[in-house]
């Protein structure tokens, strides 16, 4: 059994292994970074640490969210400090058995396929498991 921190982005339901998550915080005021790549939405101040926030919608090639949406921050641990993934809604921490996890469907194509390591069959919906390392590593 493994624990996943889950959240929604657009109409999808994602999960990240809890061990990779430093913390989850509410919407934060953000400073834009001019000239930065489009996935980088801005910088937030987390108790004095400056954290880069990555727009997960953009990273996954999903349509932009509604104007003025208050994104939540899922902070992912990295050796050089945390990186924030901006998501729509935070959901529960779920316990999932290994048997219920399958490889992502072959029909899933494109860049996103690289980022999703598996799909977990929940009772009413699919939980897509995100490879945080690759998600944070923006393509050059």
């Amino acid at each position: 059994m493994s624990l996943f921190c889950t959240f929604t982005v657009d109409r999808f339901f994602f999960g990240v292994a809890v061990g990779q998550v430093q913390e989850v915080i509410r919407h934060q005021a953000m400073s834009r970074v001019p000239l930065a790549r489009p996935e980088v939405r801005g910088l937030i101040n987390l108790r004095g640490q400056i954290i880069t926030a990555i727009d997960l919608r953009r990273r996954l090639g999903l349509p932009a969210g509604p104007e003025g949406a208050r994104n939540m921050n899922v902070l992912i641990k990295t050796p050089d400090g945390a990186i924030s993934l901006l998501v729509d809604q935070i959901e529960d921490v779920l316990e999932v058995s290994a048997e219920s996890i399958e490889l992502p469907p072959e029909t899933l194509q494109g860049d996103v396929r690289e980022l999703i390591t598996g799909a977990c069959k929940l009772k009413d919906r699919l939980l897509l498991l995100l490879d945080t390392g690759k998600t944070i590593d923006l393509p050059a």
């Binding site: 400073s31 970074v33 108790r47 400056i50």
Partner: protein, 748 residues
Amino acid sequence: MNDDSQQQVIQQQLIKDMLMESLEGLDRFDRELVALEKGEAEADTMNDIFRVIHTMKGTAGCIGLQRIEMVAHAGENVLSLLREGKLSIHPELISTLLALSDALREILRVLEQTGHDGGDADYSALLERLRKCQSLPSAPVAQPSIENTAFGLFDDDPGAHSPEVAKPVAAAPSSASSAQVTSVSEASAPGAPSGKPGVSESAIRVDVVQLDKLMNLVGELVLARNQIVEFTSQAENTALVQAAQRLNIITTELQEGVMKTRMQPISNIWSKLPRIVRDVAQELGKEVELVMEGQSTELDRTVIESIKDPLIHIIRNSIDHGIEAPDRRRAAGKAEKGLLHLRAFHEGGQVNIEVIDDGKGIDLAKVKSKALDAGMVTPDQLSRMTDREALNLIFLPGLSTADQVTAVSGRGVGMDVVRTNIEKIGGSVDIQTTLGEGTTLRIKIPLTLAIIPALVITTCGERFAIPQVSLVELVRLEGEQALKGIEHVFGAPVYRLRGKLLPLVCLDAVLHLERSSSQSADNNVANIIVLKAGEQQFGLIVDAVNDTQEIVVKPLGKHLKGLPVFAGATIMGDGMVALILDVFGLAQHAHVVSQSGKNELSESAGTATKAGAAIRQSLLLFSLGASHRFALPLSSVGRLEKFPSSQVEREGDREVVQYREQIMPLVRLANVLGGTDAANGELPVVVYTVNHRNFGLVVGRIDDIVEETVVLQNEQHRSGILGSSVIQGRVTEMIDVGAIISNQALAS
């Protein structure tokens, strides 16, 4: 935890302690050996040298590091003979012992990486060398003389201590004689016994990571303090206000205190120099005496790290290029031993480091001819350069004045890197030289990089911080001025700042910021921030100038490392993040300075043109008639003016206009170069100032201002033309303004 793993932890801790102690000891070992060779050692030096190796051997034996034990043991044998006076100090002996120290360092490095002292390296050659040393001819050991040390290697800043204190401090040449040790010995000076203060009692080792963490926390505390002070400024509750004030004061003191713990005396890097100087001098067959002054001058750790390599490079250069071989020095009537003098001192919130040699100085004529041979400048440019400007040529990449390439230097890479590295941390390099007498190189660097004064500005609702070191002045234009003061030359904005054209950069345009309707720029006000990037100045147009603040510099994450326009980020009083602009990067991004910074060379208006083999520069393009296109460098232009032809008067056979209460001669370029200009209507005039006199060049029609890398083809000997080049797809002739004006000046 079981016994085995506990043992392992203890072993690791022992190795860590030994590494730290041994590396420190070896630095001291090197330094003292070199002193010993010079006969400048103190009475205790010999013992200390012996002790370093002896201790290493003992510790290594204790924790089962046999290889270190073996090598150290061989060294100890030689040292003990030396200590007993059975061996004399001999260059070969010293070199062997230095090789021993290198070998031990190498083993320690392996130990640090792998946790054991195995390694594949074979030290039998070294052991053999050490064994041979034991049978070197014996002679009386040079008597260590105390007098020499009074102003020698270990001379601490003499002014900083009273004479009786200076001795114990100077006598503790361990690199641990840091600020804490010094201050303790000072405090206990009256009536204190003259023995060394025990380092272990007055100082403790602290992991640097721990200090950095503390510094970060203090930075956060400063920000929290700023917020609280902001909130309480409107509060009614006096008790709260008082508490906030106390917090304010304590935080400031804490910040200063923690900053101090990160300060290190410059001797931490200087202590390696005697060895480097010795090695380089020996390699080149030169004799060099190194004098260091102001060793206790303190700098922030990060700054110390970043000047280490440039400093070593400068010193190698001084010995190689500066100081002559002994026979040449004798012929020149100098002492055979060259003097290399290092001085460090605080001045105006900055640290100054001077490297002074009494060598042959820099031969300006040689620098010039080398630069010419390498095609970096044209003869014409050279003839107009001031000595100072010509001297600055040595900072160009690829220029070396050495006749021969040696292992030490002369490849022409280096001084440009030195300058770049020092400028990167907000410092500057200045050079002075007198032919035959020596060279002085002066480095100025900030005390710390962690907390810097900055100007906070706003554009399009975004706040940015600009480091104060790059700031020259602020210009605010209002009303009429705001509309007319900024002129556009085909889209390139310029401002006339005290008669010189200042290229302008709009921050919103450079950063591609979008202006929402509520942030529409106030057209009645223009804020120009005059900044310097290297020696080039430019104006940055921003919406508003907020205030100056001490900001805590924080690095940007890896996703943003590639953006040259930002130097980092900081947190403002309201908790929001603001980006710190990298002025040099911004200037490059906006093409104010070229990538290589080559067009920083010229400063004076007298240096009229800088057309070189391939130098990127801003050019004013104009035409005389339909087919003749010309260019002249914008940097040397004083002003652009228009005069109605009715204002043109005659003085003798020259045309003149009244300009700023002077009679300014006009030169019709059409007459000099061929082509036609508008005889009537308005005359576009480019004004040059040479020796406080104005000259006006009447150009036919101003076409454009461009930035181009000019490669001159068919250099001509036609008067007034440097050569031609293709700019914007048209053949364009490059004007030699200097020649035209000097002809004109001669004629008058």
